[in-house]
Symmetry: C2
Subunit: 154 residues, 2 copies
DNA sequence: GCGCTTTGCGTGCGCTCACAATAGTTGCAC
DNA sequence: GTGCAACTATTGTGAGCGCACGCAAAGCGC
């Protein structure tokens, strides 16, 4: 097991490229969102996720599920939601059937800010992808991200 | 510009998938490396990068370039290198021609630890990819990472 | 040689995160 | 009803990161 397996080590190259691409994009978007809308990438992501689940009825994701959706610990999720709640962008309310669970709604102000920040986010993303495409190591990944867009165009 | 461009918003789907995949993999590898070798993903990545540049002559990456390679700020790179130096895994030495520049070498202990941790890293990566492949949203990305391995198989 | 600008690295401060421990809620066995 | 295990959200603590700043070295015009 201590011997270096070439097939596995080769995977590391792909992972390295993925990690690099992710880092570059995140840093680029972070700078744009932070500068123009005082939002971090995670905060934007959270608003985006919660605004989608809000569509149907009234918001059905518990904190635990939210944490999983944004790949964050429970404690970090609590504080992230608290921050946005303090800014009036979110609202917490207890689950009526299980008082352990807590649901969240995006307020009007939150939706407004989200839609306001979306062009910034998308433009920065487009820009970062173009920049990354120049690197042959990442180009294939960039193409997949671009073609992954339409889930079911029908 | 405030209007939502569908073509750009569609890109966000791909970026979201990429971000999710990255987060899952990183968390998985982090847990494995931290538990078995007391190394974070970034520390492992730094050792890996520095060990490669070390191949040719004696190490030619300055802190700034290292920071760019691991997508970290200069200050974070300083501290990261310092931590590994304190653990005896790295050595700093001043550039002979420009005393502002600082180069780094991986010590024997560092190389040993790196090769020791590599199987752990690769196995965790393989495992995380398999897990992620179950999600149709990420499957295409996973495939690219896997096929990206061989730069030039010839 | 002398001053000014630029470059590269290190440091103080505030913020966010992960981990561990805690409080509140539910469901089940008895 | 009581006790207990499982689950959810929050809070305390230590660590790492980014930003702004400071210091030292190098480049440059004089």
């Amino acid at each position: 097991m201590t011997a270096t397996d070439p097939a596995l080590t080769a995977l590391a190259q792909g992972w390295c490229a993925l990690s690099l691409l992710h880092g570059k994009i995140e840093a680029h978007i972070e700078r744009a969102l932070q500068g123009r809308h005082d939002l971090s990438v995670r905060e934007y992501s959270l608003l985006d996720v919660l605004s989608r689940q809000h569509d149907g009825d009234g918001g059905h994701l518990q904190m635990k599920q939210v944490a999983d959706a944004v790949v964050l610990s429970q404690s970090a999720t609590t504080r992230l939601v608290t921050r946005l709640e303090d800014r009036g962008l979110l609202e917490r309310y207890l689950c009526p059937t299980d008082r352990r669970g807590i649901y969240t709604n995006v307020t009007e102000a939150g939706l407004t800010l989200l839609e306001e920040a979306r062009p910034t986010n998308d433009a920065a993303l487009r820009q970062a992808l173009d920049e990354a495409a120049k690197n042959p190591e990442m180009a294939p990944l960039v193409r997949v991200v671009e073609t992954l867009k339409a889930p079911v165009p029908a």
